[in-house]
Amino acid sequence: MPEVLTKTAPITEINRSLYDFTKAEKDVEKLSSGLTEEIVRQISAKKNEPAWMLEHRLKSLQTYNELHIPNWGPDISELNIDNIVTYVRPNTKLSANWDEVPEDIKDTFDRLGIPEAEKKALGGVGAQYDSELVYHNLQKSVAKKGVIYSGIEEALSGPFAEMIRKHFMRLVPASDHKFAALHGAVWSGGSFVYVPPYVKVEIPLQSYFRLNSPGAGQFEHTLIILDKGADLHFIEGCSAPKYNVANLHAGCVELFVGENAHLRYSTIENWSKNMYNLNTKRAKVEKNGIMEWVSGSFGSHTSYLYPMTILNGEYAKSEFTGITFAGEGQNLDTGTKILHNAPHTSSVVNTKSLSKSGGISTFRSAVTITENAHKSKASVSCQSLMLDDKSRSDTIPVMDVRCDDVNVGHEASIGRIDDDAVFYLMSRGLSENEAKTLIVNGFANPISKELPLEYAVEMNNLIRLEMEGGIG
């Protein structure tokens, strides 16, 4: 083996200038840091929401105080809720016109490419800045089909109020875990989508969440209901500038996929590396419904993220495609949970993990086949790539099978880039760094090809930036 392959240069920190810019906080309204009943009541009062929601918030607060932080997973002992500001309101109202959004906030979303993407390829956009939505718009052609895409708080007082009441935090109850309870107590902002029966939304809808305020938390709630036969692709993006204090994201996504409906939910998570990302996502799929998750986790200091699918109707299907890239100072604990709760259901999980520069990447999964789920099939595949000898990669799956006529398969592998493959590419004229970047891109390719083009390009850029100058 040539000597060059045994030498590695230090890997440089990612160039995050695309995301890592701050805006001065002009006239923002902030509640005190910490979590008290008074703060929860203040948030509720500002939103002029129905009485049941205040009751829900207060019950969630009680649950939060009763639950413990997890005894498994990455250490989050440095996250002190007493230092987190749970509500930061930008000085603007929700608008459907970018020209009415304050210049500094509009500039933020311009730099993130959101209005441009809206013009080119999106059927609707919601943009949240700190605790409140600042922009929400749906193309007329999509609205004409009866599709509802609005701020969830706005929808709470409209014709869909009862539908929201029946679905809000029913998939993710506050008792699920401590940070679901926190979300239930202080949630703010987020989107509501309803797609009527047999309506196919041809172009994706997107929500983008930007957290600008240092030491703040973002707790948006996304509720999507697809009626029978409906079809939707929903994209979620998120980012924040880096601060020296901890920020917290404890959002919640609840997805209801009706009979014969199809939902694809794509996320590229690129929070700054001071962020604790303790997010909860869950989908329930009825008969013949299909749920597809595409999930890229690149940012945050610490992540606990396991989108869950409940296959609740016969022949319901789910597919989870995910990639996690943990760099210096990051501890990303990601994966998925699948609950097969009806006969003939099937699930496929395909994930890739990369770790470098001391980053820790953990793939954690759970596949449960209940007594009802006869003739069901589940397949889990996870591959991990170690890019240096300073990093760590763990694989922690659980399979719980409670009936016999099923087929459950699992495969996992961990290793590093094959020296022979690098040597071969170098013999064809590539530098060592180019060869390794090419191999890593090839490793990630099954994931990036599932993303919308703009996101695939963004993901490939992120990988290139992570690799740049790193291994040559």
Binding site: N71, W72, R364, A366, E371, H374, S384, M386, L387, D388, D389, S391, R392, S393, D394, T395, I396, P397, V398, M399, D400, V401, R402, C403, D404, D405, V406, N407, V408, G409, H410, E411, A412, S413, I414, G415, R416
Partner: protein, 357 residues
């Protein structure tokens, strides 16, 4: 008075709601029954003696409370030393026979001196309907170039609890093959923790089980790689019948510095009743980049295609189940001496009688 223990703990925890992080068991602290092992087979070049206190061997990676329980309660303590450069291909057999309501706690230290070869079989058995409790700790220290097959056959009574723990430390180029066969007991626990500290040290861990009735089988295998170019291979194979349940944990743990190490883990579970419960937790922990770790699992019932083929040859589903059970038992009998193979026949006749083997 009884002792509550968290046995078979996962090296790292996961969601509590799946109840796989450990197995809680309750062991009796009453005095052991007087049971003498029947030791037969190859004893040339192997010294066996009683030990009063055995604290010479490392106990890395095993649950301290379990070790403390065994150390405090063990009435049977044997130290087995396989002499340097001695090659003992014929098996040394330690046969323990328990009776109804017997309790036995055993500690075995197996010292494999440099370049030695040994084949050691430990068997514990009781009448099918016997109540009782068996718990042991087998500590193996393999010096450089030592090689050994260690087989543990557990045929405790169907109303008893049986708990077999094995820890092993392997020096340079030592190789140990450990085979656990936990067939008996209403609650059957088995664990192996292998510390591969030596260069090119290697361990093979095999587990074979047939869960039946309301049997609860709980397995925990951990291969800790410290030495460079160390290898591990964990294979768990089982059949679940009736209302039996099984939890299998397997961990390949690559520690920093074990460059060139490789670990493989595979599990095959055949589910033959819609009342069975199967949990599998295959972990790969990796703190070193220059390694290769792989895991594969297949859990399910008889495939329809081979079943269709068998039916086309006049073999119905029940007969096909019998073929699978018989082939598993035949494979086990083939690796055991005649007297222990006969015990498997009795088990088959008495315990698997509903399957008409």
């Amino acid at each position: 008075m009884n002792t509550l223990l968290h046995a078979n703990e996962l090296p790292v925890l996961t969601w509590n709601r799946f109840n796989v992080n450990y197995k809680q068991i309750e062991l009796s602290n009453t005095a052991d029954s007087k049971i003498e092992p029947n030791i037969t087979g190859s004893t040339n070049n192997i010294n066996i003696k009683d030990i009063a206190v055995s604290d010479e061997l490392p106990v890395i990676g095993s649950n301290n409370k379990v070790i403390n329980y065994i150390m405090a309660n063990a009435s049977l303590r044997k130290k087995i030393v396989v002499n340097k450069n001695s090659h003992n291909d014929l098996p040394l057999i330690i046969d323990l026979t328990m009776h109804n309501d017997d309790k036995l706690t055993a500690l075995f230290d197996i010292i494999l001196e440099e370049n030695s070869i040994a084949n050691i079989i430990i068997s514990v058995s009781a009448a099918v309907k016997a109540h009782g409790q068996y718990a042991d700790l087998i500590r193996i220290k393999a010096a450089a170039h030592a090689k050994a097959n260690i087989t543990f056959l557990q045929l405790s009574g169907q109303s008893s609890i049986a708990f077999n723990n094995i820890t092993a430390q392997l020096d340079n180029e030592a190789h140990i093959k450990i085979h656990q066969i936990p067939l008996g007991g209403k609650t059957a626990l088995a664990s192996v923790t292998a510390n591969l500290t030596g260069y090119k040290s290697s361990v093979e861990i095999y587990a074979d089980y047939i869960g039946q009735s309301e049997q609860d089988i709980d397995l925990n295998y951990v291969a800790c790689h410290y030495g460079s170019k160390s290898t591990s291979d964990i294979k768990m194979t089982g059949i679940l019948l009736d209302s039996s349940k099984k939890t299998a944990r397997g961990t390949i743990d690559f520690h920093r510095g074990c460059k060139g190490a490789s670990g493989n883990e595979s599990e095959y579970v055949l589910l033959l009743s819609d009342k069975v419960k199967n949990k599998s937790v295959p972990l790969i922990l990796c703190d070193e980049d220059d390694v290769a770790g792989n895991h594969g699992a297949a859990i399910g019932t008889l495939d329809e295609e081979p079943l269709f083929y068998l039916k086309s040859r006049g073999i119905n589903e029940k007969a096909a189940r019998q073929i699978f059970l018989e082939s598993t038992l035949s494979r086990l009998k083939n690796i055991l001496p005649a007297n222990l193979a006969a015990k498997i026949d009795n088990y088959s006749k008495d315990v698997l009688c509903n399957e008409s083997i």
